[in-house]
Symmetry: D3
Subunit: 259 residues, 6 copies
C-alpha cells in the first residue's frame, strides 16, 4: 500500500481516517463521463483529464483524490455532439444528482469539510450544482453546516493570454472545444498513446443557431463527432494548458481552503 498515494481509495481506512477526520484535508472529486470524442480520441477523455488535474493539484495542496465518476450527464449537441451518438453513455440528471449528493454526504460523515468537484464534462455542470445543494441541505438537517464545496471545470482556468497564445487564429468558445485543440493537446501531453491524431477529422468549427432542437438534428453535428478541428493540437500546447490550469486551480484552492 503506497503511503504516499494521494488517491483516497488507495489508502487503507486507518490512513484515510487519519487524513480526513479533523476536516482540514480537502477531497477532490473528479466528475467525468463516457462520451465520444471524435475519431482520434477515446471515450474516457472526460475522466482522464479531471483525474490528472486533481492528482496534480492534490499533490500541491495536500488533498486527496476520490474515485472519479465514470459516467456523467447526457451529451448536449452544441457542446458534445449530442446524446444520440454511438458510444456516449450517460446518466439521467436525477441519477447524477443523487450520486453526488450521496457521496458528498458520506465524505462529510468521515469528517471531511472541504470538497472540490473537478469537472471534466461540460454537461455535468448544473446537475453538480443541484447535487451539492441537496447534499448541503441534508447535511444541515443532520447538524453539519460547516461544509465548504468548490466546483470548477478545469478549462475555466485558461486565461485570456493563454487562449491568445494557443488559438492564434481565433477561439470559438469552450463549448466548441469538444474533441478539439484543448482536449486533444492535453491528451497528447498526458496520454499520447491514446490519441491517433492521424485519424482526426479536420473541419470548420461547428456552427449552431442560437437555439436547440429535440430530438437532436444529426446533421448539425460534424460527422466526426468533434465540434472543432483538433488538427492544431500538440503536446506542447497540452503542457501549457496543464501548467496554466494547475497553477490556477492550486491558487484557487489555496485561497478557499487555507491551511
Amino acid at each position: 500500500m503506497p503511503k504516499e498515494t494521494i488517491f483516497a481509495a488507495e489508502l487503507s481506512w486507518p490512513d484515510y481516517d487519519a487524513y480526513v477526520r479533523d476536516g482540514s484535508v480537502p477531497i477532490l472529486l473528479p466528475v467525468g463521463s463516457m462520451e465520444q470524442h471524435g475519431h482520434h480520441m477515446p471515450m474516457n477523455v472526460d475522466v482522464l483529464l479531471p483525474v490528472e488535474f486533481a492528482r496534480r493539484v492534490a499533490g500541491a495542496i495536500g488533498a486527496l483524490v476520490a474515485p472519479p465518476f465514470t459516467y456523467g450527464y447526457k451529451s448536449h449537441q452544441k457542446s458534445g455532439g449530442g446524446n444520440h451518438l454511438p458510444g456516449t453513455t450517460s446518466l439521467d440528471g436525477a441519477t447524477l444528482v443523487a450520486a453526488l449528493r450521496d457521496v458528498i454526504k458520506e465524505f462529510a460523515r468521515h469528517g471531511v469539510r472541504r470538497i472540490c468537484l473537478v469537472n471534466g464534462h461540460f454537461e455535468n455542470s448544473w446537475f453538480i450544482v443541484e447535487g451539492i445543494d441537496l447534499a448541503l441541505r441534508e447535511l444541515k438537517w443532520g447538524g453539519i453546516s460547516d461544509m465548504k464545496i468548490v466546483v470548477l471545470s478545469y478549462w475555466d482556468f485558461v486565461d485570456k493570454p493563454t487562449i491568445a497564445r494557443l488559438y492564434p487564429n481565433g477561439f470559438a468558445g469552450w463549448d466548441l472545444e469538444h474533441g478539439g485543440v484543448l482536449e486533444t493537446s492535453l491528451m497528447l501531453a498526458l496520454y499520447p498513446h491514446q490519441v491517433s491524431l492521424e485519424r482526426a477529422v479536420d473541419h470548420a468549427p461547428a456552427s449552431f443557431p442560437p437555439y436547440d432542437v429535440y430530438p437532436p438534428k444529426p446533421e448539425w453535428t460534424p460527422v466526426s463527432g468533434t465540434l472543432s478541428s483538433p488538427k492544431e493540437a500538440s503536446a506542447e500546447k497540452g503542457e501549457i494548458l496543464l501548467q496554466v490550469c494547475v497553477e490556477g486551480i492550486v491558487g484557487a484552492l489555496n485561497a478557499e481552503f487555507p491551511r
Copy 2:
C-alpha cells in the same frame, strides 16, 4: 489509441461502434465500491478485482469492459463491517439502481444485447437485480426485448474443491471473507504493492447472531474492519482463485452468449 484494448472507453467511438452495433459483442460492466478493507488493503479492492476479472474474461470471450462503477451500496455489518466505518463511501439503494438502469439502457441504444455485470461488492447484489429489472422494463417499453443480462459475483465461481484447498482449516462463508483470505490473496497476486500484509490484524472470524441490528453495534465488527483474518492469504492462493474464477466465468459466458 490502442486498438487492442478491451476497455470500451479506451476506444474511439467508430471502433466501439463497429464492435457493438450488431449486438453480438458482450459488454462486461464491473460494479464495485469504495469500502474499507482492513488495515492491510486499500479501499478500492471491490473495484480493482472485478475490473481485472472482467479484463481477463473479456479477452477470452471477445467482449468489451465498460468503465466500472466506483461507488456501490452501503456496507452491511455482517458482510463488510458496516456502513458506519470511516472511509466506506456508499450510495443509497435508489441511486445505484438508477445508475445501473441508465447505463444498461444506453448500451442497448448503441446496439448492445449482451451484458454481464461483474460484481465485486456483496452488498450491491439486490440493487443490481432491481436496476436490471427496471432497465429491461423500460427497454421493453421502447421496443427492445432481446437484451440478455448475466449477473455474477466472481467468488461464486470458487468451487468446493478449491475451497477445500484454500481453506484447509475450514471455510467460514463468503460473507466473512471481507478483507480475508480470498480478497487478500487476489490482491497479492495482482497488486502486491497495494497490500501491506504486515499490517493485517489476525483475529478469529467475526461471529454474528442470526439477526441484524440498526444502527449497527460497532462492537460486533472486529476493530480491524476485516471479518476474518487475512493472515493465511498468499499470492499463490490468489493465482489459484484467479484461474478458477476466470475459467468458470468464461465457461458461463460462453454458454450464455454463444458465438
Copy 3:
C-alpha cells in the same frame, strides 16, 4: 375489543397509546409477500408464517404485532422461482423501501423506540435494510436518535442440530427451501387445511449455475414452482421448527430489548 390482543391494530388508540408512548414496548412488524409456493400451498405463506412467529414471540416478550406487509419484493429465480410466475405479485424495490420507511417513522412518532422486522420472504431482505436506513436517517433529522431496530428472518434461527434432524438426507440451503420442507412443515403444523400435500410435486432440488440471467430462463425453475420437494414435510417437523425459531427469536429480542 379484546384487551389481551397483541395485534396493535386490534387495540383502540388509548390502549395502544398506553403501551407504546414510553418507548419500552417493542413493535414486531411482519414483512411478507404474495408469492407462488408450488401446487400444494397458497400464496400467502410468507405472510402467515411471520405473522404467527411474531404473534408467539410478542406473547413471550410483551410486544405488539403491527399489521403485516402483504406484498413484498420481486421473487428471485434462485430463491423463489422468479417473478415471471403467475400469481406472484410484487413491489418495486423503491416502493417497499418507502413503505417501510414511512411506517417505522410513524411508530417512532407514537413513541415506539424498539422495532423488530420479522421477515417471511427472502427477497425482502436488502430492501428492508434500505428502508430502515432511510427511516433512521430521517428520524435523526427530526431529532430522534434512540430508535433500535432488529431485523430477522425466522429461518435463520434454525440451528445446525435441528437442520441435521429435519434433513437427514442433507440440506440444500435456505434459498432452495422455497415451498420445500421448511415452509410446508410449518404450514402443516399451523394451517393444515391450507396445504394439499397430495398435490405437491416431488422433484430433485433445483440446481442453478453460480450466476443469474435476466430475463429469467423459465426452464431453470421446476414447473411446480417449488425449488425443493416438500414431500418430506410433516406437522411434526413444523412443530420442531416453531419451537426452535420462537425460542431463538425470543432469546434474541430479550437480549436486544431488555426489560
Copy 4:
C-alpha cells in the same frame, strides 16, 4: 387448501392462474389503513370493512379478493381526526401511489383485466386515482390497453332512503362519520367482540370551519378521536348497511364487468 376460497392469496398458483389468465375474473383489492377510530373500536376498521365487503361481493359476482393494503394515506383532521393522533400509522402519498401502481401492474401481468379497488379509508381516495393513472399509463407503454378499473368507497352506496332510516335525527355527512354510526354499526354486525360500545364517547358532531390548518390544531378534533358520536350505532343498522352496500356494489360490478 380450500378450493372454494375467494381470497386470491389462499389459492395455489395453478388454481389462481386458472381463474385469472383469460382476464374475465375480476380482482377486488381492499385498500385500508391503520387509523385510530375512537375509544370504542380498534385501529383496523378500515381494513376489516372493505375486506368483508369485498368478500361478500366477490362471492356474488365470481371475483377474487386480493390481500388488503393494511396501511393507507395520512388521516385528515376533518375526516379522520388528523394524522397527529397516536396509533394512526400512515404512508406518504407517493408510497401509496407506487404500491397501487405496482400491484395493479402485477395483476395485469397475470392476465387480469378487471380490477375493483374497494376503499375503506376516505383519505386514500385521490392517491388511489393517481396510482391507477400511473399503472394504466405504464401498462399502455407495455402494450396492455384493455384494463378496466373500478374504484369505490363502500359508503357511497348507502342511498338516501337508507340514510334517512339510519339517521332519523339528521346526517352530518360521510366525513364526520369517522368512528360514528356507520362504521360502528358495521363493526357491531360483523365483529361485535372488537367493539366496546360502552367506551364510546358521546359528543356532538365535530364542527369545522370551511378551511384546513396545518399543522393541525389538536383542539379541533374531539378528544375521543371520533368525529361524530357512535352512540346510536347498532348491529341492526350494520346489517342494513351491509345489505344496501353489498347489493349496490354487486349491481355496479355486474354492470361494469358483465359476464
Copy 5:
C-alpha cells in the same frame, strides 16, 4: 414599480423583504389549473378566480399574493369532466406535491410564517395537503417549526343561505359546479369579455354512479365538458359570490393570522 401592489412578484426584493422578513405578513398562494370549462369559458378559470380572491383578501388583511400555480392536478371525471378531454393540461400528483413543497420552503427561508393556499381547482386538494405535509416536515428538519398554513377552496365559503338564494331550483353539489353557475357567474362579474354565455350548452346536471371507472368512460361526461348548465349564471350572482366568499375568507384569515 407600484409600491402599493399586493402581488409579491411585482415588488422589488428590498420591498418584499421588508414585508416578509419578520414573518407577520401572510403570503396567499393561488393554486390553479389549465382545464377545459365548457364551450363558454376559457381554460384559465381556475387560475383567474383564486388569483382574484387572493387579491381582494390580501388587500383586506395586509397580505401578499404569490405567483399562481398555472397548472394543477389531473381533472377528475366527476368534478371536472375527466383528464381525457382536449385542452386540460395537468401535472402528475408527485409534481404538484413537489412544487408546493419547494415554494413553501422558499417562502419560509425568506421569513414568511403564515401562508394561505387559495385553491381554485377541486382536484388539487389532496396533493396540496401532501405538499404541505412534506414542506412542514422538511422545515422542521431545518429547524423551523412555527409555520402556519391555511388551505381553502373559495367555494367552501358559500354558505347555505347563499346557496339557497343562488340555486332556487336546487343545488347539485360543488363537484357538479364544474363550468356551471358558480364559476360562470364569477367570471361574468369579473371577466365578462372572457365568457361567451351564448355558446354555453344547457343540459341537466351530470349524473354519475357512486363509483369511478378508469380509463374514464367518455360517455359519462356531457359533451360540452361542463357538469351542470351555466345558463342560470349572471354577473349579479357573481357579485354575491364574490362578496360572500371574500368576507368569509377575510374572516377566516383574520382569525388564523391575528395581527
Copy 6:
C-alpha cells in the same frame, strides 16, 4: 371570450382543440422564475419578458402561448446573484424537470407536435433539457415519436452588431446581465411603470473567480442583487432588443416549424 387571443388558456376547449388537434400549430411555453432583480425591478421579470416575447412571436407565426411557468430553478450566484437572496423563490431541479415533462406530454395528448420553450431565466436551461428528454422518452414509449421541440433563451438572439450598439463600452457577457441593461431596457420598453430606475444601484460588473463556492459567499454578489449596472438602460434600447429578438425567434421558428 376573445377569439383572437393567442393565449391558449384564454380559449375555450373547442377553439383550442380546433387549433391543435392536427399538430401543425406550435405551442410556445414561457418558462420563468420568481427571482430578485435588484432594487429597481420587480421579481417577475423572468416571467413577463418571455411571455411577451412568446406573445409577439406567436402572433407572427400563428402559434399559441401556453400559461407560463411562474417559478424556476434556483438562482446561481454568477448569473442571478445566488439562491440565498430574499425574494428569490425556486424549485428543486427534479421538480422543474417533472413539471415540464408532464406539460409537454399533455400537449402531445391534445395533438400538439411542435413546442417551443421560451426561457426567461438562465438557470432553467439544463433542467429544461432534461424535462424535454424525459418527455420525449415517455412519448416514444406511448407511441408518439414525431414531436419536435425547440428551446431558446431570447437573449441568445441578440446578435453581435446589436451588442456593439447597445454596449458601446463593452459587453460583460449574458450571465452578468442579471438585472442589467438588457433586462432593464426591455422592462422599460414594455412595463415602464414596473421599473424604478432611480432606485437602481450603479456598480461595476460583478467579478467572479473561475469557480463556484457552496454555500454561496454573500460578499461575492453586489449588495443590490444585480450583477451589472442598469444605469445605461433605456426604453429605446429595449425597443431595439425587442425587435432584434422577435425577428430572430420568428425566423428560427419559421425555419423549424415550416407551414
